[in-house]
Subunit: 599 residues, 2 copies
Amino acid sequence: MNRQRLDPDSRLYRIRHSLSHVLAQAVMEIRPEAKLGYGPPIENGFYYDFDLHPPLAPEDLPRLEKIMRRIIGADQRFEREDVPAEELIERLRGDGAIYKTENAEEMRDNGQKVLSVYRNGPFSDMCEGPHVTSTKELPADAFKIDSLAGAYWRGSEENKMLQRVYGLAFENKTELKEFLAKRELAKERDHRKLGAELQIFTISDEVGRGLPLWMPNGTVLRDELEKLAKETEFQWGYQRVSTPHITKEGLFLKSGHLPYYAADMFPPMEGDEGNYYLKPMNCPLHHMIYKAIPRSYRDLPLRLAEYGTCYRYEQSGELSGLLRVRAMAMNDAHIYCAEEQTREEFASVMRLHSFYYDLFGIENYWVRLSLPDLAAAGKKFVGHPDVWARAEKLVIEAMEDSGIPFEAVRGEAAFYGPKIDMQLRNVIGREETVSTNQLDLIMSERFDLTYIGKDNERHRPQIIHRAPLGTHERFVAFLIEHYGGVFPTWLAPVQVRLIPVAPAFNAYVQGLRDVLRRGFVRAEVDDSGDSFGKKIRSGATSKVPNLFIVGQKEASDSAVSWKRHGAKAQITLPFDKAREMLQKEISERIDWRRDDGEP
Amino acid sequence: MNRQRLDPDSRLYRIRHSLSHVLAQAVMEIRPEAKLGYGPPIENGFYYDFDLHPPLAPEDLPRLEKIMRRIIGADQRFEREDVPAEELIERLRGDGAIYKTENAEEMRDNGQKVLSVYRNGPFSDMCEGPHVTSTKELPADAFKIDSLAGAYWRGSEENKMLQRVYGLAFENKTELKEFLAKRELAKERDHRKLGAELQIFTISDEVGRGLPLWMPNGTVLRDELEKLAKETEFQWGYQRVSTPHITKEGLFLKSGHLPYYAADMFPPMEGDEGNYYLKPMNCPLHHMIYKAIPRSYRDLPLRLAEYGTCYRYEQSGELSGLLRVRAMAMNDAHIYCAEEQTREEFASVMRLHSFYYDLFGIENYWVRLSLPDLAAAGKKFVGHPDVWARAEKLVIEAMEDSGIPFEAVRGEAAFYGPKIDMQLRNVIGREETVSTNQLDLIMSERFDLTYIGKDNERHRPQIIHRAPLGTHERFVAFLIEHYGGVFPTWLAPVQVRLIPVAPAFNAYVQGLRDVLRRGFVRAEVDDSGDSFGKKIRSGATSKVPNLFIVGQKEASDSAVSWKRHGAKAQITLPFDKAREMLQKEISERIDWRRDDGEP
């Protein structure tokens, strides 16, 4: 969700704030005994807290909405009255408005001599405003009383539990509709919900929070992403490495992660030769591989890639599904290059990002270039300002070379160099940093990395850190929601489900499955005892992208009827042709929804 | 090396023992001042310890051999004399034989009243025998004075350092020759030596001992093995999972690894929600995936596979190259099946072993079936003897089904069930347990694993643990030595090196490399400034299996001359044809040396 804060002078703020008064008025109408708590505007709407017994029930909400619409139609003007604090406190106490009284007393104690009251029709409420001029300005079709909840007075467990009524409110009907649709989509596509339904991952308290176990379907997603990365990185000139998940602490003292970063790391294992740590990052281990043999300018750029697992000891309360975890497999690579190669390498990484984003049809993103605040040299970042200035120029040129639009933000750089973050906004509106590209000016020095140049002298390589596919955990969470669980064929855990229309065709269909599987297609047969109709429905709910349906006609013609997920139509074609098309779609990673793939 | 212990009555024992006397006699001849220590027969030969100054130099060894041959030729008879202990001690002390005296005193103190002396020619030595009858029986062409070393008297650092002279000795010249050849091969093929030369892995003290970092060439080996396992296991009906490397301690308390196995595990990480451990085994995590959803008989057999990393906190002193490490990626899988499926599943795993062994041309192995000592029920293993008896029968039947010969050993079973170990003897003679297949009767109960049977009742699955390719670390060590670093094309880090005979062909050859790489062939060009001859030699030492040589004729004809590693001949063929053959060889995992592959 967007965490934007509304401007109190905005129209939307006044609408939401006024609607909370109208809600309170409506509640007082059906429950005159209710005592009022707070009633502020919030993101997407407003709420009001009430002390009432028995509490409101969900069935009351439509009735409240109806009364609110009547009040809106009544053209009640909002009028402000400024009242001396003591006088208002007396008045509120006299009305038995215990929460308002407490609130007014507190403001008086804080030195406010005059307090304001807003009045509309028969209702009045101590309030700072602002409001709309009249209830008539409130859009009667752009709000909704949404839900009920419990909330302690002033948020403290020691106080009484009040009932909170939530309302949604927008400037017009379309916006409300869009919000509701997006919220529904978010609920349906939530990767935790789909992750469980589609058996992608499971989290077990016995194993540990934030440590997902990938079930077979999820492991297919991981494996396919790794295969994609391996193939792509091979073509882009990377070499793969594989490094341990643990190291002795000296390595992270050298990198500077210890002791400063210790709170974010798992606690140490105290071995008899010193402490071991789970690695919070892969970098130092790649640096050790760089250092393992002498390097010359002929070896550069050296691009070392690994799906390396990093560990962060996030607070329990922060953990959530695949988005906040404690162990994450990162699409990591470090490019060691001569300074004169950095611009081209950095731009090439950006083109690699574009390549991946195109493949997945990711369009809704923006690119942030975080630059150092050069005035903060030696504080917020390490190294000489001249080096940074050169690096900054280099990265900006590389970004311009790549042709990808970006927004530069000063003062947000990593301590070791400028960085690019790709900010993806997914289909449900949440923005996440998914992938990064960073230039590192420091570690080469700290790890004493060198190469022999053409001049026969030792030089320091520059280092680019990059992770276009982010971590498996975050990227799979993103993809689940992006695709709503209906993955393109190449990525889908089950690529095709074969459905015999009657048990008589089971054996034939099992034969087709075996042919497909020999070609490494993830095919399965629904040979359950279910009816044909139920098999088709279950094919849809399981979100398998392709159904091959086989009845008498298909069996006689060595054909299948191919039905795409979500498509009404199906087309019948020879099985061999279908298999060939399917395999092409898989090997070329075609998304039939985007590439106008038949059928 | 073979750890067989020689029978003291054997001819070889007597030969080796007698040769140690002959060696001592030879040393006394050139160094009359030398004092004798111990001189026993050992594996592959014998040694004798001397106290002498200055020590013998390597150049002395041929001279000693020559003297020994003369003594052998002299037909000196070995004669035993039994002497009262006190008398012998007096005699030795008189001779100044301080070490022999100390030894004799100790034997007397241990109650030996009479000690024996063996005499041949001018030489005599306190000794228990036995010996050959005469030096003439010693094979003059089947021994060799091998090396010099330092050794503390009685192996204690507190004692004086003596000089040890090692000899090799066999019954005949052929055996000596074979031993020397095998030792030379072992030295050349040692995976630590080749691992460094071929840049397969590196071990860094800063990262930690026993935690290899896989360099690009080694990562190719890992990745190719994983690809092989994934493809094979897909065809054999496995599903892949991916589980964390760490878990909370409760899981390993449940499995019984803690506290009993704690000494072999890394120390805990003390988190705020209890201890975390690096997993010593993958099993419990797979069990949690089994448990994550309800299972029915229709899901069985469920085969969950993972290259899962296990951690063992081996003693520093035990660590060696890739063979003894602290983190190892295991070709693991657990098969959950109904008891009536176990026999077929177990046999199928054995067939899978055969499949892999055939692929790698592994012929020198034997299969050990470890069975429980049924009399030790409740002590050495858990569970009811009847269950074990049934399991034992089942496994034996499965082994018979598989057609693989095996040797049953009683009393060696795992505590949770009978197991199969594949004992590989590699080309340098070392025997290693590389892969296993085990039936588990216990964990299903401990982890409360169930499935709903056809009868609608809950049943416990049986579990098979298997790891045909063992761990990456051990299997790669084995393969390096097995292939002497010359891997079959599909596995080779660099599959083909293109060699232009002169710089004029560099650009053309780089184009061919690019074509190959687009087809995912790991191709590289030697476009260094080296001479053609040097390029060919460097192609050989780098152990790249295929060289494509391009000169004027090849360039004009769009051809290459293909030279296999170690082959004298090369054949010229159109590049497209060569590329096609190479790709077929890769995709079908053909070893040209075994499958009579052209060229």
